[in-house]
């Protein structure tokens, strides 16, 4: 990653992998999309190309519902194994309660009106922190990706800030903002900021120079050049950054709620641990997995649309 020349890019291995993924998926390749080797099909057919061989397998895998069902196979197997382990008495109910017990715990919490509250407040924190963090990441990423001066002035500082392990912020945030919503949302903001910042600044720096020059040759400059050439070119990369940021936001949510809170799924985790309620603990984990997956899938739909529209 270091050859990409962003001092902020070498902090966290999670980002590095995902940037590699970006390039592998062709998202960061927008730069060469219009190169001289453009020997595409002469007639404007659908750009979608599926291999013609293995028609039946490809057909099944291309069907959305079939894919969903196939994707549920492994969770179903895990569930069955879980049920088997508990019913044969392999684990005690404190170590591993049966799936049914987890469902009962859920029903119990729903009846007390607590579960919805936990879920709502956690989701709200994630969405707020993600929105502010992503917005700031976009602004600073654009600034540093486009301006050499801003890069020289800001990059070292941002790189150093990113090197601070996230939990190190917690005491300071609590000291400054008390144990309220602000400190939690701010921590999540910090988590969401860096993936967006990194992808945007890197992608802007690698926008096809030829395209930018063509834009300038036809009189585009400043904001007009940015909105006509540079931003559209990085839209797919921005979405990849947003998805990383969202995952990061959920991670930081749990960190924030584990440490200091009286509500939320992270609180449910610590509270259940202290009371020996493994059923609720497992419930919290399952809920985090489900809500996290749903928010990521929604963003994934937006990403798909954006890549089709802009790449």
């Amino acid at each position: 990653m270091t050859h990409l020349g962003n001092p902020g890019a070498s902090g966290n291995s999670a980002y590095a992998t995902s940037m590699e993924g970006l390039k592998a998926s062709g998202v960061l390749k927008t730069a060469t999309a219009d190169g001289p080797g453009q020997g595409g099909p002469a007639v404007g057919g659908a750009p979608e190309q599926r291999p013609a061989n293995g028609r039946s397998a490809a057909g099944v895998l291309g069907n959305g519902w079939a894919r969903l069902l196939l994707g549920l196979l492994l969770p179903a197997a895990v569930l069955a194994a879980w049920q088997w382990c508990t019913s044969t008495g392999l684990f005690s109910s404190v170590q591993l309660p049966a799936p049914g017990a987890v469902i009962e715990a859920a029903v119990d919490l729903v009846q007390r009106g607590e579960l919805a509250q936990h879920m709502a407040i956690s989701t709200q924190r994630v969405l707020l922190g993600f929105a502010f963090g992503a917005a700031l990441g976009l602004v600073f990423g654009a600034l540093i990706g486009l301006s050499k001066v801003a890069d020289v002035l800001l990059s070292p500082t941002i790189g150093a800030l990113r090197a601070v392990p996230s939990l190190a912020w917690v005491p300071l945030l609590i000291l400054w903002m008390k144990i309220g919503e602000d400190s939690k949302v701010t921590l999540i903001l910090i988590g969401a900021f860096f993936p967006v910042f990194t992808t945007v600044s890197l992608a802007l720096r690698h926008v096809d120079k030829n395209l930018v020059e063509a834009g300038r040759a036809f009189g585009l400059k400043g904001v007009k050049l940015l909105t006509t050439v540079q931003l559209p070119a990085v839209v797919p990369a921005v979405f990849s950054g947003l998805r990383l940021a969202l995952a990061q936001a959920w991670l930081f949510l749990v960190a924030a709620e584990l440490i200091a809170s009286s509500m939320g799924l992270g609180f449910l985790l610590t509270d259940s641990q202290n009371n020996g309620r493994t059923d609720r603990l497992l419930l919290a984990i399952v809920l985090l997995a489900i809500i996290g997956k749903i928010t990521d899938a929604l963003l994934g739909v937006a990403e798909k649309w954006a890549v089709k529209r802009w790449a």
Binding site: D34, G40, P47, N210, A214, A217
Partner: protein
């Protein structure tokens, strides 16, 4: 479109620059020099380029690959600054990107997320109204034979079609100086001849000065009023390229592709380029 196409028969393009008027602008290269890098890495590409391009003239620039043809065009467009000397358009030096020029680059350089139509519209001058612009884009797309592909994205069409869209984008600007960097290189032989004729039609209908970079001697002879040959001067092989030969192409366009005189010039030009013309 019909107006432009029929104008060719009504008023054939003349080799006389005086026939051109209106927006066609003179271009002068004055002691132009371009050196890349500094110190031990300095690498002179162009040196001592002095030339006056008449307003409305079609000037072909020939030369081996890598001799600095694109560099010369970029300096004219203001995309690149000469290391010494200057380029003057209509008597005023080019400083920064010059709105009097329009470029069709060697590669199409279309925005992949726009339709061909939207890409051509980027070439429109700032002053044109939305309605004027729209009909002009439609007319240009028809001229370059892409009206059926107006709504397609660049990656959905062939390289040659993208190149034609790029030409239309440059034409949309109604430039005083039209800079074409091997615009027909990616086209098949038949489309190339069509596009060459089209260029002449447009040039006759809307006078503009054309600087046409090409590696195709026949194309130069067919389209140009004059040809300059860029290359290294004998005995100065380690310096940059300069104008080693200037040729006035006789006769008015459209020229007979089979004429004996042109065949002789072709041979002589190919010899200058270091190719056996037989």
């Amino acid at each position: 479109m019909t107006a432009v196409l029929s104008s060719r028969h009504a008023a054939p393009a003349s080799a006389e620059p005086s026939a051109a008027s209106g927006s066609a602008l003179a271009v002068s290269f004055r002691g132009l020099n371009r050196t890349f890098g500094a110190g031990a890495n300095a690498h002179t590409v162009l040196r001592d380029v002095n030339f006056e391009v008449r307003p409305g003239e079609v000037l072909a620039i020939l030369g081996p690959s890598g001799c600095g043809k694109s560099t010369l065009l970029r300096a004219t467009a203001g995309l690149d600054a000469p290391s010494a000397g200057s380029v003057d358009i209509d008597g005023t030096p080019v400083q920064g990107i010059d709105s009097r020029c329009a470029v069709a680059f060697q590669e199409p350089r279309l925005l992949p997320w726009h339709t061909l139509q939207a890409n051509v519209a980027i070439g429109l001058p700032k002053t044109s109204s939305a309605k004027q612009g729209k009909s002009k884009v439609a007319r240009l797309l028809e001229l370059v034979g892409l009206d059926k592909f107006a709504k397609h994205r660049p990656r959905e069409v062939s390289g040659g079609m993208a190149q034609r869209a790029s030409l239309a984008r440059a034409l949309a600007r109604n430039p005083g100086v039209l800079l074409l960097d091997e615009p027909f290189g990616a086209l098949d032989a038949l489309t190339r001849i069509k596009m060459q004729d089209l260029l002449l039609d447009i040039h006759a209908a809307e006078p503009t000065t054309v600087l046409l970079v090409t590696h195709d001697v026949d194309e130069a002879l067919q389209l140009a009023d004059r040809i300059i040959l860029l290359g290294k001067e004998e005995g100065r092989e380690h310096d940059g390229a300069t104008i080693v030969r200037t040729v006035d192409v006789p006769g008015s366009r459209p020229r007979d592709r089979g004429s004996v005189e042109l065949a002789r010039m072709r041979r002589s030009l190919l010899e200058s380029l270091g190719v056996d013309g037989h």
